[in-house]
């Protein structure tokens, strides 16, 4: 019974990692940017939701939508302020990484000041709390919400990117900006759209992570490493791979903490990441590589 409970915990945690990884992967595959400010989008999603709930009394779902939109706008802001000037100058991966670190620190400090670095939590009675019985297992409402959101949103993102003209245009810009432009696609519009989508999905991951617990301006930092690892395992540029990678990490971390030791969970998780990379350097489903960056 404990194994089943912890497996469910792992899947639910993995669902959040998967969402984060999808957001992370969109940026990398579209713009070839290893964006270390990605974790901040998750924090902004959660914080905006918190402030809306605390100040306005709007229902949780509406506050969450505003949080998701807010996180998306923050991502667009970061892209236009930090990455667009570098793109214009033709600066490659390393410059963008350094710029993203700067944005990460700056945006995090804004939240630190806004919250006076104290932990916050969604006000009582606003976000889903408590448990739901599924057969013999009691599952937290927040966990059910995380899995449902992950399935719906990741499916929608996959559909958007692979079954619509807009998605084709985004992928075309990611593959070769100049060729896409020749065919009439606006790279600028697609990049802004991809940034918005990436920030929104990541913001949702932050909201789900924050649900039912205290959090502070550091919330997204912990997601960053897991999200990056999930993308690496799954394969850069493949939404399904990112989702599988996120679930894998969530389950491995949870089970290793429960059955071996929390002290070794990261060593075990990232050891397995290394094994996967040795076996399949492009990730489970990936075809992209760093050469493009």
């Amino acid at each position: 019974m404990l194994l089943l409970e912890q497996l469910i915990n792992g899947i639910c945690t993995g669902a959040i990692y998967a969402l984060f990884a999808v957001g992370f992967g969109i940026v990398f595959s579209t713009m070839q940017i290893l964006n270390l400010a990605q974790g901040v989008y998750a924090t902004y999603g959660a914080m905006i939701t918190y402030f809306v709930l605390d100040e306005s009394g709007l229902p949780f779902w509406l506050a969450a939508i505003l949080g998701v939109i807010g996180a998306g706008l923050v991502a667009v802001l970061v892209d236009q302020v930090a990455f667009e000037p570098l793109r214009r100058r033709g600066v490659q991966l390393l410059g963008a990484v350094i710029a993203s670190i700067g944005m990460w620190i700056a945006l995090r400090e804004v939240l630190s000041i806004a919250t006076e670095a104290t932990p916050v939590g969604f006000p009582p009675g606003t976000a889903p709390r408590g448990q739901i019985s599924i057969g013999p297992i009691d599952v937290l409402q927040t966990q059910v919400l995380a899995v449902v959101c992950a399935v719906v949103v990741i499916s929608a993102v996959y559909f958007l990117l692979h079954r619509t003209n807009v998605g084709s245009a985004i992928r075309a810009v990611g593959f070769d900006k100049r060729s896409a432009q020749i065919t009439g696609i606006s790279p600028q519009a697609m990049i802004i759209g991809a940034a918005m989508l990436s920030g929104a999905v990541t913001g949702l991951a932050g909201i789900l992570m924050a649900g039912g617990q205290s959090f502070n301006f550091n919330l997204g930092d912990a997601l960053l490493l897991q999200g990056f690892a999930a993308v690496v395992i799954g394969g850069m540029g493949d939404v399904r791979g990112s989702a599988i990678g996120g679930l894998f990490i969530g389950v491995v971390q949870t089970l290793s903490a429960s059955y071996i030791s929390a002290s070794y969970q990261d060593a075990i998780t990232f050891g397995l990441v290394l094994v996967v990379l040795l076996w399949r350097p492009t990730g489970l489903l990936g075809s992209a590589d760093f050469q493009r960056a």
């Binding site: 939590g121 009582p124 448990q131 912990a222 949870t254 002290s263």
Partner: protein, 399 residues
Amino acid sequence: MRIDSTPVRPGPRRNRRLVAVALTVLAMTASGCAKDGGAGADGDTVRIGMIVAETGPIAGAGKTFANGARIAAAQVNADDLMDNGKKIELVAKEGSEDPAKSASVAAQLAADKSIVGITCCILSTVAGAAKPIAEKQKVPLMLWGATDVDLADPPYVFRTVTMPQPANEKVSQTVAEQTGIKSVAYGVMTDNSGIVSQAEAFVSGMNDAGVQDLGTVETLSTTTNFTSAATDLIQKDSDAIVVAGTQSNAVGLIAALHDKGYDGQVITGETISGSGVFKSQPDALASVPFPVYFLSDQPANDAAKAFVEAYTKEYGEAPDGYAAQGYNAIYTLAMGLKAAGDDTTRAGLSKALDGMTELKDTIYGDVTFDGGQLNATSAVQIVNYTAPDGDIAAWKPAN
């Protein structure tokens, strides 16, 4: 010879840039060292370095530590508590409670020979980084918040933080005796040596009360989802669960236990005290007992009352335990300087602090010093937050 294709900028524009950069650097340099208290050092001023953490991951606590210290300096100066007509000037530098940054700041302060003492450090890792610098430069270092064992090391390193270990032992014993619990499990953040040391004190208290230990579940400082740890703890089916972690870690695990429906007794340490914490998880934190040395609602004496009034007037809220620790660090340094008489040098202060065995009428009441460590066990109170308003009241068993 240029090898890129960037056009050469005209001279005046480049000069303007250089001037702008120079002015920026000057402004940054000027703001890097903020003086609390205004006037520069002179014969009537004693300068105390203060490594603050008003930005960074624990700025919430860091601000109250620093504010408590500022109130202490103001009171010492206003009431001439050093009894020599001299004034304390606090020289605050931001360390963000980052070991490397704080060590660098400690080195800067120690290099300034006009500074006779330094106070700092909430985290044990930061204290560990600052300690060798103070010892090497022979400048008294007063630790106000780091709780790892053996950090105090006279004649240069002293500690006024009211140690959580005796308080944790007391809360364990008291709760065990008054609730009749027979078994306990522990949720411990194991990647922080100070927290591990605090957890050992909980265990000791429970063992003394004859409570069966059903084992420990580990969490980490990087843990953001506590559902798995809560599941493991609940699986142990114990009458009580003790949670030992830093503030966000402890609150996160207590909230997860609450959400998972744990209905036994939850006990935790002083880390969950502090303004704003209750609001983040009111349902989970209400009625969870934890120990405090200082309670603004129940000041131990007139000194504590005066501190509460001054702090509330200045900052618009009552001081918490962290503010009290900041206050007490500066107050103890002031009493050391008073004992040093005319020799308000590093050596004089070090000698005076090393010889200090007790202090009367601190905000904790009368306290003693042993090996550079302040002891105030008699001041420990067991309290809990009360729903729905988050007031802190003396803890009483539910039944």
